[in-house]
Structures are given as C-alpha cells and as structure tokens.
C-alpha cells in the first residue's frame, strides 16, 4: 500500500510541476463553465417567458433543463481532455528511461500501475470538484434536487475513470506521448459511438453493442438513474484497462 502511495504522490507532483495538469484543468473549467453559463441563461429566459403561463411554469425543471445537458457536454470535454492526462503515465517513463528504476525496485508492477492510475483519478477529481462549485449558484438562487446532480457527477467520475483505464493502457504501448493520446482518443470515441452500430444490428449483437457503448450507460446517470449495470460496466472497463496495461508491461519485459 505504501508503495502505491509513493508512486501516486510522485505522479501527482509531476502533474502539478509540469504544465499538463494546469492546462487540462483550466481548459476543462473554461469550457464546462461556458456550458453551464449558457444553459443557465437559456433556462432563465425560458422561465421568464413561462412565468406568464402558470400551467407550463410548473413543468420547468432545472435538473432536466440545465444539468442533464450539462453533464452530456462535460462528458464530451472529458473525452478530449483525458487522453492528454493519461498519455504521459508510462510513455514518458519509457522515453526518459526511468522505467528501469521502477522495475528494478522492490515494488510490483501492479503497485506501479495503481499508483499511476490513482494519480490520474486525482486530477479528474480536481476537475470535477472545481466544476461542481458552480452549483453553489444554482442552490443559492434556485431549488434544484441534490441527488440527481450528485448522481450525474458520479456518472462523470466513473466514466472518466473508465476513460483513464483505457488511456493508461495506450500509454503503456508506446514511448511517444502523442501516439498514446491519439490512440486513446480514437478508442474512446469509438466506444462512445458504438451504439450507432446497434441500429443496424439485430438480436444479441444489438444488445452487446449497446452494452459496450459509453453513451448508453452515461445517459441514464445524467437523468438521475443509478443502475448497478452501469456501475458494473464502468468498473469492468477500469479493471480491463488496468489488466491490459499489466499484460503489456509483462510482455515487454519477457520478449
């Protein structure tokens, strides 16, 4: 455990001594803040108009009209940002040959992988946490429901965690960070839109493709539904990504 902590600490420190984390977090906050602001503005104008008609007014729902689309927008930003956060994890160690230090130290490969993975999760938490602060405004001036919002952020975190599992795997494949980022982005986007293929598929394939798609699982969560299938899906994506990473590192050494 202390070994995982040692690696994690070092990775977090590296994130915040290089510009990567700052740039990724800032861009993420600017974009997500912009989405939040414009959705709120739209919601405001809608409420003004509907204030004249009490019947419609009752149907206004900030959770559905602001938060649900906001989470969808943020998820796209995460799709773009996460490859940039995970790309250096293993690729850079290989490039500057520090992997030789790690693999000749009395720590296991699993501990190295987990340490690095937790460090990237920390960056994700910072991103989502800072973005979540914006909700203070909605709570100050309106009365949204808390549970669906938390559920949406949980969904974003789980999806980001699954993205990072895939990102760390691609980082272990190459010593070029750009290659790692591009591969990760491609894979994530493919998984995102996998459900498109399900329209033309039939029978079991349709279910399989739908199940594998990121989008399908995330949609529920933005609407405040917490389903164990989705939890299991995200966790198995994470475990799958980390397992592949482990296999890549092992096989590199045995080749």
């Amino acid at each position: 455990m202390s070994n995982i902590w040692a690696i994690c600490k070092k990775e977090v420190k590296t994130y915040f001594t290089s510009p990567i984390a700052y740039v990724a977090i800032t861009v993420f906050l600017v974009l997500s803040g912009f989405f939040f602001q414009s959705l709120m503005w739209w919601f405001n104008t809608q409420s003004m108009q509907m204030a004249r008609n009490p019947q419609y007014y009752q149907q206004l729902n900030i959770n559905q009209m602001v938060y649900s689309p906001l989470f969808h927008n943020i998820s796209i930003v995460l799709l773009l940002m996460i490859p940039l956060i995970t790309m250096r994890l293993f690729a850079d160690e290989k490039r500057i040959k520090t992997d030789e230090l790690l693999y000749t130290s009395p720590i296991s490969i699993n501990q190295i992988i987990l340490g690095k993975y937790f460090a990237s999760l920390f960056v994700l938490l910072v991103m989502l946490g800072l973005n979540g602060l914006l909700s203070l405004f909605t709570f100050a001036y309106g009365n949204p429901e808390l549970a669906p919002i938390l559920n949406g952020y949980l969904g974003l975190f789980l999806m980001g965690a699954a993205f990072m599992g895939i990102g760390i795997f691609f980082s272990s494949l190459t010593e070029n960070q750009i290659v790692a980022a591009v591969l990760t982005f491609g894979a994530l986007l493919l998984f995102w839109i996998l459900n498109w293929a399900s329209y033309s598929a039939s029978g079991m394939w349709r279910d399989v493709l739908n199940y594998l798609s990121f989008f399908q699982h995330f949609d529920d969560m933005t609407r405040g539904i917490l389903d164990t299938t989705d939890l299991v899906y995200y966790l198995s994506m994470v475990i799958f990504g980390l397992f592949l990473t482990h296999s890549v590192i092992q096989s590199r050494r045995w080749r």
Binding site: N3, A6, T14, K97, L101, T104, P106
Partner: protein, 308 residues
C-alpha cells in the same frame, strides 16, 4: 556473491548472451569488459531483474534472480546506462522518492538520504532541479540513487561514460571508496577503467565469455613472452644480428630509436644483454621491462587469439 551459470538471452533471433558463466566474490570490484554490443548491458539487466533470461541461472547473495526477484532487488543498487532521472524534480525530491520505492522504513529515510548526498558529494546541488545540473552531477545522482538503501551489491552500467577526464577520476575514486562491505560489478569498454578500479574482470565478446578471473591470474595466464626496451648512446638497426646471438633472445626490433627485445618467460636474458652492451662499449643508457598490460590481454582476447 554474484553467480551466473549457463545464462542465455535471445531477442528474437539475436543471441545477446550465450552460455555465460562467471562468479564475483564478496567485497570485490569486478569489471564486465567487452567491446560495444558485447552483451554487457543485457547481462546487467538480467542480474538486476529488469529483463528475464531466456535460459540459465543467476543468483545474487544466494537469492535466485528469477525465483526471488524482490529479495534481490532489496539488496541491489543499480545504475543503468542511461541514468534514470526525473528532470522536473530536485535532487532531494528525487532521492526521497527513490528511498521510498526502495523500501527504506520511513524513520530511516532521512538519514539514508543525507548519507547518500554526502557520499556522492551532492550538497551543492541538492535543492536544484535535475534538468539544470551538469552531466557529472547527474551521474553522481545516479550513483546516489543506487546507494541510498545501502545495498550489498552494486551494479553500475558504464558509470563514467560521457564524463570529462577530471570527472572520470572523481567517479572512479568514489567507486573505489565504496569497496569493502559491498560487492561491485561495473561494465565498461574502457580498459583503463578496469586496471584502475577493478580487482577482477569478466571479458565478453558477442555475448560469449572470453575470460574471467582476477587481474593477476589473467595476466599470468597470457604472459608467455617477456619484453624490454633498450636505449643506447650509439648504434642502430645494424646491431640487430649481433643481439640475436645473445643466448635466449628470440626477437629484436628497432622502434623509435630503441631496441625491443623479446624472449620466453622461462629464462631471463636481461643480464646477458647488459653484459654484451658493456663489453662492446655501446653506451647503454636505459633498460626498461615491458609489463604485459591488460590492454594487450584485452586485445588478444577480443581479437580471438586466446581461447578461454
């Protein structure tokens, strides 16, 4: 302390190490010598557990490198060919990180760090970022990270490569000062490194063992001819036939205004040569024996003149 038996390593079709056997005794500095691409780095990577071997056995301090890698890693310090440094860390931060992953108990980490900084002579740069310090200091940081957990065995891959002559001397002194309680193995393709720092040597070529043993043993085994240089006030090449008549003399050469005598190691002709020169009044001003150097040995071995 370090034992290697029938070690083989293949990278695809390339055989980097073939049937390697050697042994390093405790408390000694041993050199792993060979031309470039001889398999030195591969051998060291196998010993440190970075790479698995295709076949064979290796053990360090009684622990099998393949069966008990963690035990080996705990007692081994390793300086790879490319020093594994994080450029954005300060020297202190870096060594603190290494201390953690080398499993030094947290209570002892601070002392270990101070000791490593002192031994490697890093006081002046300890607060600086690694990317901003000189090559020589980077190499010292590399040695400090190898030493920080007080390992019984040190493996140093080309520790002086890329340094200027003054730095090379410093690093060699540092390595020699570490001898004693530690067993050290260093690889190099520079011969002087071996004669100046090592007690013994393993010479490999194309992944094969060419020779191994202490320097004294090895020098004795290849030394079958003795040589000396003789300088005279007068006389040149025309004297060679006369010298050849001196009993025991096998070869006389005229090089750089000096004579080079060669004879077999079992008899000594020096007295006869001296007497002859004095009798003929040739003006003998210098007689200098040639030591068989490790360089001759190395060249002989590498060019394939000497089998195991």
């Amino acid at each position: 302390m370090i034992e290697v038996e029938h070690l083989n390593k293949k990278y695809g079709d390339l055989e980097a190490v073939r049937n390697l056997n050697f042994k390093v005794d405790e408390g000694k500095i041993w050199g792993l010598l060979g031309p470039n691409a001889a398999g030195k780095t591969t051998t060291m990577r196998i010993l440190t557990g970075y790479l698995p071997a295709t076949d064979g056995k290796a053990s360090v301090a009684g622990f099998d490198v393949f069966e008990q890698p963690n035990e080996v890693k705990k007692i081994m310090g390793y300086l790879p060919e490319v020093v594994p440094l994080y450029p954005d860390m300060t020297v202190d931060e870096y060594l603190a990180f290494v201390a953690e992953i080398k499993q030094i108990p947290s209570a002892k980490r601070k002392d270990a760090l101070e000791k490593a900084i002192e031994t490697a002579g890093l006081e002046v740069v300890r607060k600086r970022l690694i990317k901003n310090i000189s090559r020589g200091f980077k190499q010292r940081v590399g040695i400090a990270q190898a030493l920080i957990h007080d390992p019984r065995v040190l493996i140093l891959d080309e520790p002086t490569i890329g340094l200027d002559p003054a730095q090379i001397i410093e690093i060699r002194q540092l390595i020699r000062s570490l001898k004693g309680e530690r067993t050290i193995m260093l690889s190099t393709h520079i011969l002087a490194e071996v004669t100046q720092t090592c007690d013994g040597v393993v010479i490999i070529r194309d992944g094969r063992l060419m020779a191994s043993g202490s320097l004294v043993e090895l020098t004795a085994s290849v030394k079958d001819k003795e040589r000396m240089t003789v300088k005279l006030k007068s006389g040149g090449e025309e004297l060679i036939p006369h010298f050849m008549n001196i009993p025991g003399t096998e070869k006389v050469l005229w090089e750089n205004d000096e004579f080079v005598f060669e004879w077999s190691a079992d008899k000594d002709i020096r007295e006869n040569v001296a007497r002859y020169c004095v009798e003929k009044e040739l003006g003998l001003i210098e007689m200098k024996p040639h030591m068989m150097s490790i360089e001759d040995l190395y060249l002989k071995i590498v060019s394939g003149d000497v089998a195991q």
